[in-house]
C-alpha cells in the first residue's frame, strides 16, 4: 500500500456523502496541468496549429506565386522566414505545408485508431479461436517494414494526393494500436461490472460500447500523440524522397526537399521546415508523456 493510498483512505466525512468530489477527466486535466513540460509542449503545439490555419488567410503573399526577383531572400520584416528559389514567401508556405503535414498526420492517426480499435476490440472481445487467428495474422504483419510498405502502397494506388498519403501511412502502422486495444479489452472484460452487465442481460454490443470501449478512451488519447510523430516523420521522409504530395502544394517534407539543392548558400529554406517538423514531433512526444502520467491512476498526486 502506497503512502498516498493510505492518505487517501484516511479521508472520509458524513455517512452516505461522497468521500471526494471529482471527475476522472477533471482529475486527469489537473494532473496534466502540473506537468510543466507537457503544458509548454501543448501550448507550442496549439500555436503551431493556429499558425498553420491562420497565417495563409491573413498573409498578404500568395504562397504559390512565382516571382523570381524575390528569390532566395533571408528573413526580413515582409518575409519573416525569407523566400525560396522561386521567390515564394516561406512564412505563408510553411504554414500551408503545416496544414498538409499535420492534416495527413492526424488523418493517418485517426485511420490507425479506427482500424486498430476495430481489429483489437473484435479480437479481444470475441476471444478464443478468432482472437488466436487474428493475433497470429498480426504477428505475420508485424515484420513488415513500415516505410517500404507505404511506398509500395503508393505505387499500387498510382496517384499521390492527401487521401492516398493517409492510406499509405496508416496501412502498415496500426498493429501496435490493435494490440494495445486488444490487451485493454481483455483486461477490462475481467471486471465485475462487465460480468454484472451480462448477468442483467445487457446485449453484447452495449457491453462493448458502454462498458468496454469508453474505458479504453484514456489509452486511445495517449495513442494519438504516440502515433502522430511517427506518421508525420514518415510523411516528411516520403516527401523528401519526392514520393509525397505534388507541387505546387507542399508539405514540410517537400519544402525541405526544395531547400536541399541550395542548402549551403541559403540554409534557411531547409532549416525552417525541418525545425517545424522537429518541434511538432517533440511536442507530441511531450504531450503523450504528460497524458500518460495524467491518465494513469497509479500516478495519483501526493
Amino acid at each position: 500500500m502506497s503512502a498516498t493510498e493510505i492518505a487517501g483512505r484516511m479521508a472520509g466525512v458524513e455517512a452516505g456523502a461522497p468521500i471526494r468530489q471529482s471527475s476522472l477527466w477533471q482529475d486527469a486535466w489537473r494532473r496534466y496541468l502540473r506537468n510543466r513540460g507537457a503544458v509548454a509542449a501543448g501550448i507550442v503545439f496549439l500555436l503551431i496549429v493556429v499558425w498553420c490555419v491562420v497565417a495563409p488567410i491573413l498573409s498578404p503573399h500568395d504562397p504559390n506565386r512565382i516571382y523570381f526577383p524575390d528569390a532566395y531572400q533571408g528573413p526580413s520584416w515582409s518575409h519573416p522566414f525569407g523566400t525560396d528559389q522561386f521567390g515564394r514567401d516561406l512564412f505563408t508556405r510553411a504554414a500551408l505545408g503545416g496544414r498538409i503535414s499535420i492534416g495527413i498526420g492526424f488523418g493517418a492517426t485517426v485511420a490507425i485508431l479506427l482500424i486498430g480499435v476495430v481489429y483489437g476490440a473484435v479480437s479481444g472481445f470475441v476471444g478464443g479461436k478468432l482472437d488466436n487467428g487474428l493475433m497470429r495474422f498480426l504477428d505475420a504483419l508485424y515484420g513488415l517494414p513500415y516505410l517500404p510498405f507505404a511506398i509500395l502502397a503508393l505505387a499500387i494506388i498510382g496517384t499521390v494526393n492527401f487521401w492516398t498519403m493517409v492510406v499509405a501511412l496508416s496501412i502498415a502502422s496500426w498493429f501496435i494500436t490493435a494490440r494495445v486495444v486488444r490487451g485493454q479489452i481483455i483486461t477490462l472484460k475481467e471486471n465485475d461490472y462487465v460480468r454484472a452487465a451480462k448477468a442483467v442481460g445487457v446485449r453484447w454490443y452495449a457491453i462493448l460500447g458502454r462498458h468496454l470501449l469508453p474505458n479504453t478512451l484514456g489509452v486511445l488519447v495517449i495513442t494519438i500523440f504516440l502515433e502522430l510523430p511517427g506518421v508525420i516523420l514518415g510523411e516528411a521522409f516520403l516527401s523528401f524522397l519526392g514520393l509525397g504530395i505534388n507541387p505546387p502544394d507542399a508539405s514540410w517534407g517537400a519544402m525541405a526537399q526544395d531547400g536541399r539543392d541550395a542548402y549551403r548558400a541559403h540554409p534557411h529554406i531547409i532549416i525552417i521546415p525541418s525545425l517545424a517538423i522537429a518541434t511538432l514531433v517533440l511536442c507530441a512526444n511531450f504531450i503523450a508523456d504528460g497524458l500518460r502520467d495524467a491518465l494513469d491512476p497509479r500516478t495519483r498526486e501526493t
Binding site: 500500500m1 503512502a3 492518505a7 483512505r9 484516511m10
Partner: protein, 333 residues
C-alpha cells in the same frame, strides 16, 4: 524498561488536499518477549504506526512531526538513514501483508535469505546457507534443504509467508512487526501462521507488534491490545481485560458488530452496525473523534466539544472517552 517506547507520536501526510493527521499523538510500549496487538479498521493509522517505527514512510508526503520512538533506550526518530539500515532487519524486522509481493520473484529463496544473513552477520556463504536451511526448518518448510534453490512461485501463499517470516527472523531481531500477516491467507493457513509466530516469539524471547483488523486474531495472539480509531489509540489493556471488559464505546460497538460463530440464533438476529463512518483526518473534529457515531455522546456533553484525554481507568486499562462502560453502569444504578 520496555523494549520499545513510543510517546506522543504524530505522523502527518502533507498532501495537496490538505494535512492528513494519519497518526495523531499515540503512546504505547512493548515489553521484551510480549506481543502487542494493534487493531483498527482501514484508515485508523495502524499501518502508518508500524511504518513510522521502521521509518519506512516516504518523506514527503509523510513526516513524523513530533514524538519519540525509543528502542532499547535509543531514539529512532533522529537516526540517519545509514544508522537505520543497521537497525532494520537486524534489531527490528517486519512481515508484510502480501506474501506474493514481499519476495523477489527472480531470486531463489535461498539467495534472499543468505543476502539478509550476510548483510547483518559476519558469515561466509557456506555457513549462511546452512543457517538458511535451519531457518526454513524452523518455520516449518518441509524438505528445507531441497527447497533452498526454488523460486518463490513454487510455494503456496502460506508457505511463502513462512519464507517471509524466516527472512524476518534470520538475524534474530528483538522486535518483529507483523502488519496484517495473515489477511491474504485462508483461515486454516492463517491459524498455522499465527501459531508459528507465537512459537517463534516464545522460543526466541522476541517482542512482537501484531497489526490487524481482525478482533479474533488479536484475541488469540496478543498479550496486550491497543484499539486505534481515526489516528488515535482509544483503548488499551491486556487482551483478557479488553475482551472481557471493553470500556470504550467504539470497542464495544466493534465487538457487537461482529457476527458470532457460535450464536445459534445468528440467522434471526440483526447485527449491531455502527452508523456512519470514521471522520476525515484532513480536518478531524476538535471533539472526541468517535462522538458522531457514539451511542452515548449526548449533544450537551463536553465530549462533543473538547477531546477526552486518555486516562487509566484501572491499572493497565487506558481509555479515551467520556463514557466508559463501567462509569455508565455506575450512573444507571
Amino acid at each position: 524498561m520496555a523494549l520499545l517506547e513510543v510517546t506522543d507520536l504524530r505522523t502527518h501526510f502533507f498532501t495537496r488536499a490538505g494535512l492528513v493527521r494519519a497518526v495523531d499523538g499515540i503512546d504505547f510500549s512493548v515489553e521484551k518477549g510480549k506481543t502487542l496487538g494493534i487493531v483498527g479498521e482501514s484508515g485508523s493509522g495502524k499501518s502508518v504506526t508500524a511504518l513510522s517505527i521502521m521509518r519506512l514512510l516516504p518523506t514527503p508526503p509523510a513526516q513524523i512531526v513530533s514524538g519519540s520512538i525509543r528502542f532499547d533506550g535509543r531514539e529512532l526518530t533522529t537516526l540517519s538513514e545509514r544508522q537505520l539500515e543497521d537497525v532494520r532487519g537486524r534489531q527490528i524486522a517486519m512481515v508484510f501483508q502480501d506474501p506474493m509481493t514481499a519476495l523477489n520473484p527472480t531470486l531463489t529463496i535461498g539467495t534472499q535469505i543468505v543476502e539478509v544473513l550476510q548483510r547483518h552477520l559476519d558469515l561466509d556463504r557456506h555457513s549462511a546457507r546452512r543457517r538458511a536451511v535451519g531457518l526454513l526448518e524452523e518455520v516449518g518448510i518441509p524438505r528445507a534443504a531441497d527447497r533452498l534453490d526454488d523460486y518463490p512461485h513454487r510455494f503456496s501463499g502460506g508457505m511463502r509467508q513462512r519464507v517471509v517470516i524466516a527472512i524476518a527472523i534470520a538475524c534474530e531481531p528483538r522486535l518483529l512487526i507483523a502488519d496484517e500477516p495473515t489477511t491474504a491467507l485462508d483461515v486454516t493457513v492463517q491459524a498455522q501462521v499465527l501459531d508459528l509466530l507465537d512459537d517463534l516469539r516464545r522460543e526466541r524471547d522476541m517482542a512482537m507488534i501484531l497489526i490487524t483488523h481482525n478482533m479474533g486474531v488479536v484475541a488469540e495472539s496478543a498479550d496486550d491490545v491497543a484499539v486505534m480509531y481515526a489516528g488515535q489509540i482509544v483503548e488499551q489493556a491486556s487482551a483478557h481485560e479488553l475482551f472481557r471488559n471493553p470500556e470504550h464505546p467504539y470497542t464495544e460497538a466493534l465487538l457487537a458488530a461482529l457476527p458470532d460463530l457460535d450464536d445459534t440464533r445468528a440467522r434471526e438476529r440483526r447485527l449491531a452496525a455502527i452508523p456512519g463512518r470514521p471522520p476525515d483526518l484532513i480536518d478531524p473534529p476538535a471533539a472526541c473523534r468517535f462522538a458522531a457515531r457514539c451511542a452515548y455522546a449526548g449533544c450537551a456533553d463536553s465530549c462533543t466539544v473538547e477531546p477526552p484525554a486518555l486516562r487509566e481507568l484501572r491499572p493497565g486499562h487506558w481509555v479515551r472517552t467520556a463514557h466508559p462502560a463501567s462509569e455508565r453502569e455506575a450512573v444507571a444504578t
